[in-house]
Structures are given as C-alpha cells and as structure tokens.
Amino acid sequence: MSENYNDNKIIQAQSSETVSAGGSGATPDIDYVRPAEVLEQDLYHGHSFITKWVFCQDAKVIGIQYFLLATFTGIIGLILSWLMRLQLGYPELAGFMTAEHYYQFVTMHGMIMVVYFLTALFLGGFGNYLIPLMTGARDMVFPYVNMVSFWMFFVAVMVLMASFFVPGGPTGAGWTLYPPQAILEGTPGSGMGIILMLVSLVLFVIGFTMGGLNYLITVLQSRTRGMTLMRLPLSVWGIFTATILAMLAFPALLVGGLMLVLDTILGTSFFMPTILKAGEVLEYGGGSPILFQHLFWFFGHPEVYIVALPAFGIVSDLISVHARKNIFGYRMMVWAIVAIGGLSFFVWAHHMYVSGMNPWFGFFFASTTLIIAVPTAMKVYNWILTLWRGNIRMNVVMLWCLGFILTFVNGGITGLFLGNVTVDVPLSDTYFVIAHFHMVMGIAPLMVIMGAVYHWFPLVSGRMLSEKLGKWHFWVTFLGAYSIYFPMHYLGFIGVPRRYFEMYDSPYVTSAVGMNEFISMAAFLVGAAQFILIYNIIKSLKTGKLAGKNPWKANSLEWFTPTVPPEHGNWGNKLPIVYRWPYDYSVPGAKEDFIPQTTPPSKVSDTEVEKT
C-alpha cells in the first residue's frame, strides 16, 4: 500500500474558481445550471477573540466546539466504564465502590454516551462542520441560533456534571430513568440527582432543537446551484434524516422528563402507582409507570437511529472515497436511510417485551422490528458491493470502515434474536443485551467517528494524522472491543443479569468470574488506546505532514474550498456550482480516477459518467 495519493497536483485545474457559470463553455447547453434563486447570505464576521472563538457564529467553529465538548463528556463516560469494569472484574480492588456508586456510574455512563457524546458529536459536531460545506452553503441559515444551540448544550453538560457534586450524587436509576424507582428514596440520587439529570435533558433538547432547525433548513433551502437532494453526499443524508428523527423524537423525552420532574417535585402521580414502603402507603397513587416507558422509548428507539444514521451516511462516503468506486446503489442507500428513519417511529416497544404492556403488542412490534432489518441489510450489502473489486486503499480510514461493517453486522444479527419476542424473553436484561447494543450503537458508530476523524482531520487542520499511530489505535481498539463484547454474548446466554453490582455465589459464577476479569482487562486496554488518538491529534497539529488541497482525491464539495482549512464563508468570492453526484470515481474514459462535483459536463464529455 502506498501513500502516493497525497500527491495533489491535478486538482488545481478543477477547483471551483475555474468553473464558470453555464453558457460560457464550448458547449453551452450541457453546462447550463439554473441561476441562483436566493441572494447571497450576509454573514456576521467576528472581530475579537470572544466573537471568533467563543461566541462564534461560524458553523465550522461551532462544530469543533461541539466535537471537543462531546469528546470531553465521552472521556468522562469512558472513565465511568473503567470503574464499572474494575468492580465487575476485580471487586477486591474496588473496595471504595459501593453498590450505589456502581448504579450511578451505570446510569451516567449510559446517558452520557448515548445523548451527550454520540448524538452531540454526530449531529452537533459533524453536522455543523460538514452540512454547509457539503451542500455548498456559506454557513448555516441562522448562525446566531446555531451559536446559542452550542451554549445551551454547554449549560446542559454543566448541569449534568453538577449532579456529581450534589448531596446524594447523580441519579442511579439506569439510563432509562424508569419510574417509580427513579424518584423513590433508596435509589441513589433520587433527590437532586434525578432532577438535575432531567433538567439537563430538557436543556439539551431545547438546545438541540435550535441546532436541528438549522441543519434541516440549510439542507432543504440553502444548497448551492446545481446541488439537488440526489446529489448530496450520503453523509449529509444521514445527518439530515437523523436530525428529522431527533426533532420528532425528542418531544417525547421532553414530555416524559417534564412529567417525571412534576412527580418528583410536586408529588403528582403521572407515573406513580400506589406504593407500599415499609408497611406505609405513600402519597402517590393511580399513575401508570408503563406510560413513561412508552414515552421514553418513543424517543429512545429513534435515538438509536439518530446515532446510527449519520454513521451509515459517513461510512458510505468514506468507503466510496477509499475504495475509489462509486457507492453501490446510491438511490437505494438514500431510500434505505429514509425508510429506516420512518420505520424507527413504529418499533419502540420492542424494548418493552417484558414490561407488562398489552401482550398483543408483541406481534406488532416484532413485525415492524424485523421489517426495519430489510433496509438495514440492504445498506450492508451495498457497502460490501462498493468494496467489491474496488481499488481499495488499505489506510487507517478504510480499516475503521471495515471494522464498522463487521461490528455492525455482528450487532445486527444479535438484534434479530432480541427482536423476536420468544427469543427475547429469556435474554432480556442479560449481558447479551449489553453486548448487542454496544456492538450495534456503541462500537460501530464509534468506529465511523474514528474513521471520519482520520478522514477529515486534514480538512480541519491542514495536516495529516500519523498513519502509524492510527494503525496501532485501530488494531488495539478493534481487537480489544471484540474481546470485550464477544464474551458478553456468552455471559448473556448463561444468564448473567445486567446491572448487577456483584455476582455473589451463583452456579455460573465459576465461568463468569474468569471471563469478567478478561473483559475488564480488555476494557482498560481499549480505553487507554483512545488516548493514542488524542496524542496523535496533538502531535499532528504541530508536526503532521502538510495535507494540501484534497489529499484523498475526493469529489465532494468540502475539499474544494479556496483555502484549506476553509475560512468563514467557506467559498471566497464565488459559490461553487455542482454538476454531478459526489461519487464519480474510476469513471471509464476519465483521465483521473475522480471527477469532482464542480467539473462541468463539457470537460468530461468523452467519459461514461453516471447521469445524476
């Protein structure tokens, strides 16, 4: 494998400045693009440190801010997982930890990783950075609101972190926060902890709504000339659809959270049934705990796809670029994303098979769950077919993509087990479930994030990340993650329940103990390996190889800004004009193996490009 694709002489002739508007070429007809409908966007340019880097209205800076803050919370989540693994693998070393601590760590780890890390990173981080660049916009449509969105997220994170320091500590109710136990005495953090958690979630939802409106309207109403929806890179499609899901799913969380706050503070009984405590009847009565589960999972299941869809989209782009081949079945991929997004609102109660809901629901939700596997499987086939006979560059980015496909298939197959009611019932609340969702929505999207970081770091910073360190990072993470989660499937099969602080003396304790020690060792190692990436980033920022323009020879618009890294306003004096989809790689008859989106048809008239 060579690294000569970093050579980027060819690209200069095709950058956006040299492309003129329709009508001036040799063959005026085929290069015609409709004139602009919208006048250019005025931007507020920051002029001090505060307005340039802190309260900044540039989507790219906001994206990086989101990225850094999400990574910070992610590292906290990682440390919590280390503490949990320490307790599970080596309880004798974790004497400082009580069962209460353990539940709090479980809860905070789950909530942080799903909402404050993955959601914020994909939509806030990658969404902000990539959407305006990939659609050919100067910025998000409402830069001020976008800035407020980030600072709402910041406040939400601060409130969440504050809950570590209040009396009673953070909530220990599990990330699903099920009432009644979430707000009853005896659950750790049932006082201030749960209230701060819910307040933080409400703030997150408000902040996210501000950002989400920006992403949606930018994609829908602010694309550059020639950029149709079917010429958008799949990254944008994934982030866009995930944002729609978020806009429609977060309301359920908001409502559930508000009602739970009222139950806690005012003593209402939305979710609280009559409860006997130490022989005494509590004030509560007549509420419906299962209602909260429905509300939570009406949010919770789309949330899974809020994390997964951007990963699907981004990985499609990475695979296509690094296999030098157009994405197989682009339209099918788009429709699959949309179909998964739509269906995700009809599957939520497959998380509740053992909750005591109406037993007939099992039929409905098992059916819809298995239906949603169809578009998902189509996507996997298409990734594999994109790789098939491609000119694959086996670099770090590609390694992460391959790792993703493997992990995702793995997690998807265990999903089929859990989607069927009869198979799910014995597996519910065991380590099998832990293994399943960590594979499918933890490790798999994380692999895409890593691949995306290696892929777009040259754009953001102008320098390449070290491939050597990257390969170490990948292999330790990949093999380590499998060492963690493969044995967990087995633990689930022998019936080890999740969320247990300690196994005590049980029949399966002999086989589980050794395995737990092994898993814990792997978890420490994988966690530590992530710091290779941080080291790599810091080192490469200073000493990395200069990337120049378009180091990967990619087609999509973000690589064709006049300056690298792009400036505020992205496109200099002239907005780019788009003539094709971003996947014209290895086109028969073309001089280069890639044709950027900004190349007019007249320049490649003798090649067999796709009509898009």
Partner: protein, 110 residues
C-alpha cells in the same frame, strides 16, 4: 430565503378570511352545544371529533395558508402525523389493557 428575488406577494381577498372566521365561530358553537345538550356515547365522540378536525383543518388550510402552499411543504408536514396516529392507536389499546388488568387483579381478584 434571506432576500427573495420575488416581487410583492399577492394576497387573498379579505372575504375568504372573514368566511373562515365565521365558520370557526359556528363550529366552536356547535361543539359547545354537544356539551350543552349532554350527548353521550358514540354520538358525542363522533361530533366532538368531527368539529375538532374541521376546525383544525380550516385553521391550517386557510389561516396558516397550507391550502395555497406547494405540495412539497404540505407533505413534509403531514406525513409525520402517521407516527402520532400509530402512537394514539396503540395507546388506546394499552390503556384498555391496563384498565382491564387493574380491575381484574385489584377488584375482581386474580
């Protein structure tokens, strides 16, 4: 669009707004009458829902101009309602089941 290139938007005659306004008053009055005459059962429900959807439809179609908007916007706004419809439908089944199990176990004795 920040500054659309289009010229002045054409508006509708005032008559149509006044008509819709009047119909909304009449429909509200009708739904109030449902309670006044204490209709019960299926009749009450069908009347309440009919008046409700008529009012909602009129407000959306004319006051919010959806009737004149292009289908692209209308479809984007209305299709997500299927998720709500599904949620409502399933929660009706759910509350019936919860009520059944409460009556069965707490009052009849399971």
């Amino acid at each position: 669009m920040e500054e659309t290139k289009k010229e002045q938007t054409t508006t509708h005659k005032i008559g149509i707004y006044l008509w819709i306004w009047g119909i909304l008053f009449v429909l509200s009055f009708c739904s109030y009458m449902v309670d006044w005459f204490q209709f019960q059962g299926l009749l009450r429900w069908s009347l309440i829902l009919t008046f409700m959807f008529l009012k909602a439809g009129l407000i959306m179609a004319f006051f919010m101009h959806l009737f004149w908007e292009r289908y692209a916007l209308v479809n984007v706004l209305l299709w997500p309602m299927t998720a709500i419809a599904c949620f409502v439908f399933l929660m009706v089944a759910e509350f019936k089941y919860t009520l059944f199990s409460r009556l069965f176990y707490f009052f009849i004795g399971g």
